[in-house]
């Protein structure tokens, strides 16, 4: 049985996730939709904190909310005027999108709800210390994450070079 405070916290976070992610895809002002995305990402970070992964929540806030959303806002301001509204959706496109997403929601939701194993209780977990994260991230033994870590660093280097090459002036 969880405390009342954590249940209220959970409800606030989930309501924020649902409301802001719906608003992010339906808002007609693009800058607003980027702001709603920011709130969704913050709510996701709150879920990570709630589940006990503090480091992951911090990374989510630093990289997603601090980096990616700022990038979005800059590129929105570069490519459109602040007051711009996107044109109204044609009903055909709207219907296609609604059918795709609602059908997916129903199928995946049914598949989820038919598995009663997913109603398991929260198992106990000892705190994830920075020490353990660092050791496992950089160990080359079984279950260590050294290879993907190195691969990501090469990918980021390639991405830096690619970004410069693509966006520079000819």
């Amino acid at each position: 049985m969880e405390s009342v405070g954590s249940i209220i916290m959970y409800m606030v976070v989930v309501a924020a996730i649902i409301i802001f992610s719906v608003l992010a895809v339906t808002s007609r002002k693009i800058l607003r939709s980027a702001t709603y995305l920011l709130f969704t990402l913050f709510a996701t970070a709150a879920i990570y904190f709630q589940l006990g992964y503090e480091f992951l929540g911090a990374v989510q806030i630093a990289v997603y909310a601090g980096g990616i959303v700022v990038l979005f806002v800059f590129s929105i301001l570069l490519t459109s005027k602040p007051g711009d509204k996107s044109e109204k959706l044609t009903s055909k496109k709207k219907v296609v999108g609604l059918i795709a997403s609602v059908a997916m929601l129903l199928v995946a939701g049914y598949a989820l709800l038919s598995r009663c194993g997913f109603f398991a209780q929260l198992p106990a977990m000892e705190g994830v210390t920075m020490d353990r994260i660092g050791t496992e991230l950089l160990s080359s033994s079984h279950g260590g994450m050294l290879l993907p870590f190195e691969a990501i660093s090469v990918l980021l280097l390639a991405c830096i070079i690619g970004g410069i090459v693509v966006a520079r002036k000819r």
């Binding site: 969880e2 954590s6 249940i7 959970y10 989930v14 996730i17 649902i18 992610s21 719906v22 992010a24 895809v25 693009i30 980027a34 995305l37 969704t40 996701t44 879920i47 992964y53 480091f55 992951l56 990374v59 990289v63 997603y64 980096g67 990616i68 979005f72 590129s75 929105i76 570069l78 490519t79 996107s86 044109e87 496109k93 999108g97 795709a100 997403s101 997916m104 929601l105 989820l112 709800l113 997913f118 109603f119 929260l122 198992p123 106990a124 977990m125 994830v128 353990r132 994260i133 496992e136 279950g143 993907p148 990501i152 990918l155 980021l156 991405c159 690619g162 970004g163 693509v166 966006a167």
Partner: protein, 103 residues
Amino acid sequence: MEISMMYYLIPSLIMFCCGVYGFITRKNMIAILISLELMLNAVDINFVVFNRFLFPGQLDGMFFTLFAIAIAAAETALAIAIIINIFRSNKTIDVDDATKMKF
């Protein structure tokens, strides 16, 4: 009330479906990218929740999410570079107008 796994998976499913809806209906390329971020984020939540509830002794799901966040950052930076390049040559970032490379 007991907060079980399902209570985290359903919101993330709703988030993913919002992303699918936005991906199909939006015309602005940056808006499409925002929808894509929503979908990626929903998948990240799923990784963490499965890790926490099914394998609380391990950290694999957390690391997967960490790498997914890094890849999402790289992908967004590159995509925005491409979008700005398209804007420079087309003066618009509407997906319907980017037809130069079609044949």
